[in-house]
């Protein structure tokens, strides 16, 4: 087990290093001078040179690269060009709101998606299966901001069940849940659509296995076969795909936060884009990278928990 964890950990560190290198070069290789982007076309050469020096852009590329990597490791991600506060502080301030949203959405997605997928697989090629398949295909066709706008129209504006703007600042649990409800339902439904499809195909695969036929033959109850014998084996692809879809979830959370005007990484990145906050953008890419690499690591480690065979692989 320890060897497995260490191997995965090493792989995560290598990936992280690779992605950070790509982030560094994407920001620098793309055409367009960040100094001009920040100060505008009309800025004079002196001001541009001063800003370049402040950003460290006048240094040779390898010096910038080493400083960038060193900074990321010690938590010095530069200072926001707009607010003047350290980038890492600004990010950490809103990170919990985004994590709360993504976590609850993931939970909702799994809560609806896994049973629906199992049901669909068990009733293969019958009406429930067709309906579930069409509904899940429709669900993943929704751009997150479209479904968000529709939910807002129906449940916040017409029915007035939920607030139009979720401040994310509620103090009591009730307030927080009310704030979180619509954004989480929005992301949760899309996630459920993805999970339903994977759970269905994973279950179909497992249902055809010999040991399932044996379980039927020895007279085990249907529910026992499905939930104890099939589901645990079907969970591996589900967990993999949930890990892979986290990227989609993060992208969608940006759109959801904008529609519901909810604080989080999404609103921060849009603000940084609009104000051309170059250091903040770089910091945002670093934090997204960290999240993605961490989730991939957790996904890998989860296999070991679900499937004992993998621990010794």
């Amino acid at each position: 087990m320890t060897a497995f964890v260490l191997k995965r950990l090493g792989f995560a560190v290598v990936t992280l290093f690779a992605v950070l290198t790509i982030v560094f070069f994407i920001v620098r290789v793309l055409p367009g001078d960040p100094a001009v982007a920040i100060l505008g076309d009309q800025a004079n050469e002196q001001a541009l040179a001063a800003l370049r020096a402040r950003l460290g852009l006048d240094q040779p590329l390898y010096v910038q690269y080493v400083e960038f990597l060193g900074g990321v490791i010690v938590g010095d991600w530069g200072v926001s060009m707009v607010s003047g506060r350290p980038v890492i502080q600004e990010i950490l301030k809103v990170l919990p709101a985004t994590l709360e949203l993504t976590f609850v959405s993931l939970l909702l997605g799994a809560l609806f998606g896994i049973p629906l997928g199992v049901w669909s697989a068990v009733r293969r090629n019958r009406l429930p299966d067709y309906i579930t398949r069409m509904a899940s295909l429709l669900g993943l066709s929704f751009p997150a901001f479209v479904s968000a706008v529709l939910l807002l129209l129906v449940f916040a504006i017409q029915l007035r069940w939920f607030p139009v703007i979720s401040s994310g600042q509620g103090t009591t649990l009730g307030e927080r849940l009310r704030d979180l409800a619509l954004p989480a339902i929005n992301l949760g439904l899309i996630m459920a659509a993805y999970i339903t499809r994977v759970a269905r195909s994973a279950m179909l695969e497992v249902l055809n296995q010999d040991y399932v036929r044996t379980a039927y033959a020895k007279g085990l109850a249907f529910a026992t076969i499905i939930w104890r014998h099939c589901l645990r084996n079907a969970m591996i692809p589900v967990v993999t795909v949930v890990g892979l879809y986290l990227g989609i979830l993060i992208g969608n959370s940006v759109l959801t936060e904008i529609v519901f005007n909810r604080p989080g990484l999404g609103k921060l990145i849009i603000g940084a884009l609009n104000q051309r906050d170059y250091t903040m953008l770089q910091g945002m890419m670093v934090i997204y990278t960290l999240i993605v690499v961490l989730v991939n690591l957790l996904t890998d480690l989860t296999y070991g928990l679900i499937d004992p065979r993998i621990k010794y692989a």
Binding site: V19, P31, F145, V146, V149, R197, I248
Partner: protein, 300 residues
Amino acid sequence: MSQATTAPPSRAAYLRSVLAAIGGGLLKAFNANKTSWIGLGVFLLVVLLALFAPVIAPHDPLQQNILFRLKPPSAEHWFGTDYYGRDTLSRILWGARISLTIGLLAIGSAMVIGTLIGMVAGYYGGRTDIIVMQVMDVLLAFPSLILGLIVVAMLGPSVANLVIAIALTAVPPFARIARAPTIAVKNREFIEAGRALGYSDMRLMFGHILPNIAPEILVMGSLWLATAIRVEASLAFIGLGVSPPTATWGGMIREGFENILDSFWLALFPSIAILVVVFALNLLGDGLRDAIDPRLRGEA
């Protein structure tokens, strides 16, 4: 007089037979899953509407009319008018041209570049394969909307830059899709035979491996076209679409969102338009994928 029965087929005839094989494979897949036909039908209808937008659009999409601001749907304006009194239906029809152009160009180029990378990595294997696919995996790990967002923000929003940004996020999946079947095909007898005949790597890859993996790549293309249209609309919604006053679906929803309390139809109709196209493409690609390879079910 002289009958060339044993002469090798001409290049054109060979190309025809390859195309016929790919077409035949796709046709079989279509017939195995009827919902694909529905998806294709709806998508082609949207393409036609977009092509003929200048003819069928009832109004000029840019024509402002202050007297007809924010009017609800009526006989004159089926989908109502926006804040500047512009006809929503006409703007949706013209907006389809932008969505489809960007989507098709981005996925077309990602398909070509990604397939090339995947085929080369799969065909040569070894260190090339490991390094190339590691880079692809790293790119794949990055949320595509975030990557697209940053690239467009740096390059500036224009049709060309949106195509580049979206294509960049779609290259890795095509590389992965092309690589696996290349590895599977490259050791089959007909490739061995080609090698024995002294065919070059290029000829084997493009003449013999590509036709075998083309149906799978085209099917993934339809699914990724759906994603590309969704990402383009999302970027436009954020404010990184083709600049106004050009009509884009995402941009229209963004404008409609600002007037959502009193004129909900502004956001509603373009939302439905995006949903119809993306759903049609997913229906098309999903059905074909099931038919072509049942094992792929559920993987995106």
